[in-house]
């Protein structure tokens, strides 16, 4: 089955089911933690020290936890980008590319209308980021709906394309000549920068991400559209015979999902970087997919799993220095967590 367990309008909150699920989840986490400790030992690193550094670094001071919030913004948005299509039985593994494409369109607005007032420029950038990501994902949705091209593969491959389009722009047409030949665009004007909160790096994207969580939850649980999307996910053939515009729903879900990832790209460029450059996202879209998967594609649970992965990610930046590990080695921990949770999740299918 492609989907995580279905998001139901009335989740089963009965104590035993809830407790068992939580127990399995925590069990999977502990298993993954133990496995990562073994990996660290194999590479001659002290796992106790590494874990201490991860938690100390991510949660030990206000810098740490504000950084966790900063990372949560793209993680949650890209997780939602995977979660919405999952309701329709679609696999969107392209949030990474959609994030980059949203960054491109938002940057175009910033570079073109950056002299305007903030109240106009910023909303325009958010809209542009949404449209950019929506286009990139909607393309895959349309190819799937009307040409039968598998969206798992098209979204994956278009990630590589979007990243190279950014490379092309920042090395070529959009390169700022006054920037010592670095492959960056010109720095955005103040009007095109998302404001930061609490005097930290946390930015207004946090509010956008929170809004997206709530809106998506309401869409899926309280509206006819959400209900019909889940019908499409449950049985597309029945939905089609029932007169639902299945193709339209597939495209729309992908487009909205990509739009959310595109907003993440807008936020990263506008708030964190202040310009477009290569590598604005270090695999955020893939981490978002993991977060969505761990959350069973449930928008509210994504906040929890997004926070968990953000802690690990911030911790990873810390252990890079403290234990001398490449920062991407936290990918090992993230993958093991997914394996741990997959491995301990209740079996939904009988083995063939």
């Amino acid at each position: 089955m492609l989907r995580a367990e279905r998001l139901t309008a009335r989740p089963n909150w009965s104590a035993p089911a809830w407790a068992e699920e939580l127990g399995r989840f925590v069990g999977g986490l502990l298993l993954a933690g133990a496995a990562f400790a073994v990996v660290l030992l194999l590479f001659g690193k002290d796992p106790v020290k590494a874990y201490a550094e991860i938690f100390q670094g991510a949660l030990g001071d206000s810098y740490g936890w504000t950084e966790v919030l900063v990372k949560m913004i793209p993680f949650v948005l890209t997780a939602l980008a995977a979660a919405l299509p999952a309701q329709l039985g679609l696999i969107n593994v392209g949030a990474e590319g959609q994030l980059y494409f949203g960054a491109i369109t938002a940057t175009w607005v910033a570079l073109t209308f950056g002299d305007g007032p903030t109240v106009i420029v910023l909303p325009l950038m958010v809209a542009a980021g949404f449209v950019g990501g929506a286009f990139w994902a909607g393309l895959c949705g349309a190819l799937r709906a009307y040409a039968g091209l598998n969206e798992t593969i098209s979204t994956l491959l278009l990630n590589y394309v979007a990243i190279r389009v950014v490379d092309h722009l920042v090395h070529g047409p959009w390169k700022d000549p006054s920037n010592f030949n670095w492959p960056y665009t010109a720095e955005f004007t103040q009007a095109a920068r998302l404001p930061v909160l609490f005097g930290s790096r946390v930015h207004l994207g946090l509010a956008l991400a929170a809004l997206a969580v709530v809106l998506l939850y309401l869409l899926l649980t309280r509206t006819r559209w959400g209900y019909e999307m889940r019908v499409v996910g449950g049985n597309p053939e029945a939905a089609r015979r029932g007169g639902l515009p299945v193709g339209l729903y597939l495209v729309a879900a992908m487009a909205i999902a990509g739009g959310l990832a595109g907003i993440a790209g807008m936020a990263e460029t506008s708030a964190i970087q202040g310009r477009l450059r290569a590598g604005i996202s270090n695999g955020y879209g893939y981490v978002g997919f993991l977060a969505s998967w761990l959350a069973g594609a449930h928008p509210l649970r994504i906040v929890v799993t997004g926070a968990l992965l953000a802690i690990i990610s911030v911790g990873g930046d810390v252990i890079q220095i403290a234990v001398n590990l490449p920062s991407s080695s936290v990918n090992v921990l993230m993958a093991l967590i997914l394996f741990g949770v997959l491995g301990t999740r209740r079996r939904l299918e009988a083995a063939r």
């Binding site: 089955m1 492609l2 995580a4 990996v39 590479f43 039985g89 696999i91 593994v93 190819l143 799937r144 709906a145 040409a147 039968g148 091209l149 598998n150 798992t152 593969i153 098209s154 994956l156 491959l157 278009l158 990630n159 590589y160 394309v161 190279r164 389009v165 490379d167 092309h168 090395h171 070529g172 597309p236 053939e237 299945v246 893939y286 997919f289 993991l290 998967w293 590990l325 490449p326 991407s328 080695s329 936290v330 990918n331 090992v332 921990l333 993230m334 993958a335 093991l336 997914l338 394996f339 997959l342 491995g343 999740r345 079996r347 939904l348 299918e349 009988a350 083995a351 063939r352």
Partner: protein, 304 residues
């Protein structure tokens, strides 16, 4: 002049195609048994990273290639356990394997990032390599490239002409029939996924040891995902996989030739070609392929 370019593109196409071809053949085996593995990307990385690290540490490319096979298969084993024994979602498990490969090879390869190894050099086949034009094009490659292109017809013969090949295909189509015949379908699936991982690892080794002679994080750049796409294009047929891999390799080789010729196109724009071309061939010829999809996969790729 034009002849030099054409020969250059064709020679380059073969060299660039072989890593993807090995991975594609591996994925064909796996999917023919009803298990799809997006972790091919991770297995390729394991092959590239472990193969390079062992070669650099021991000086022996043979040990490196063995390590690549082992690394690729080991990662696939984890996926096989999740997919076959735990009934986990195959796409999620495969992506987790991709992530694990990415992270593990970052650890394994870190000391060797700036290293350079002799690795696998080209071996000209005596006699044949001296033939005009085609000699250099076809008969002056590294051993893994020869292996990749010989493996395709061998795998075709195995799948269509042997008992075990028939069983393997039956597992992917109707596991219950295989079970009724007194065989355990799961054993075939484990063997198929492991073989797939081993071949992907071999493809990774070709990339780091024979193609670039270097290692850097994430060096496969989506070749594993390309392989998964090419399996659909190839309609699960090993010989059609050769065509798909050559199209991909040709795009890379054409890039390279255009850049050396000084054509004024952004190199990043040219870099996009292999991915776009793969999607395009899938779009145009993928339809006929989908009908050939093993029954057991339909539950995974629940295509409308």
């Amino acid at each position: 002049m034009i002849e030099v370019v054409v020969v250059g593109v064709l020679t380059g196409a073969i060299r660039s195609a072989s890593s993807v071809l090995l991975a594609t053949l591996g994925e064909i085996i796996s999917e023919r048994a009803g298990i799809t593995n997006l972790g091919v990307e991770g297995s390729m990385l394991m092959g590239a990273g472990a193969g390079f690290a062992v070669t650099a540490a021991t000086g022996s490319p043979v040990l490196g290639v063995l390590a690549a096979i082992g690394g690729g298969a080991l990662l696939a084993l984890l996926h096989a356990f999740m997919a076959i024994h735990r009934g986990a979602n195959q796409l999620a498990s495969g992506l987790a394997a991709m992530f694990l490969g990415l992270g593990l090879t970052a650890l394994i390869g870190a000391p060797y990032v700036k290293a350079n190894v002799d690795g696998l050099n080209r071996v000209a086949i005596p006699g044949l390599a001296q033939l005009p034009i085609v000699g250099g094009m076809l008969f002056n490659h590294d051993l893994l490239t020869y292996l990749a292109f010989l493996l395709a017809p061998a795998l075709w013969l195995f799948l269509t002409r042997t008992r075990w090949g028939l069983f393997l295909r039956a597992v992917g189509e109707r596991p219950d029939v295989v079970y009724a015949a007194g065989l355990d379908p799961r054993r075939f699936q484990y063997a198929a996924v492991l073989a797939g991982g081993a071949l992907a690892g071999l493809g990774g080794a070709q990339l780091s040891l024979a193609y670039t002679h270097t290692w850097f994080e994430g060096m496969t750049g989506g070749r594993g995902f390309i392989a998964v796409a090419l399996v659909i294009f190839a309609a699960w047929h090993p010989l059609r996989a050769v065509v798909g891999a050559l199209i991909f390799g040709g795009a890379i080789a054409l890039n390279f030739q255009l850049q050396t010729l000084g054509v004024r196109i952004s190199p990043y724009a040219l870099d996009v070609m292999p991915y776009v071309l793969t999607l395009a061939v899938l779009l145009v010829w993928g339809q006929s392929g989908r009908r050939a999809m093993p029954e057991g996969l339909r539950a995974v790729f629940r295509n409308a």
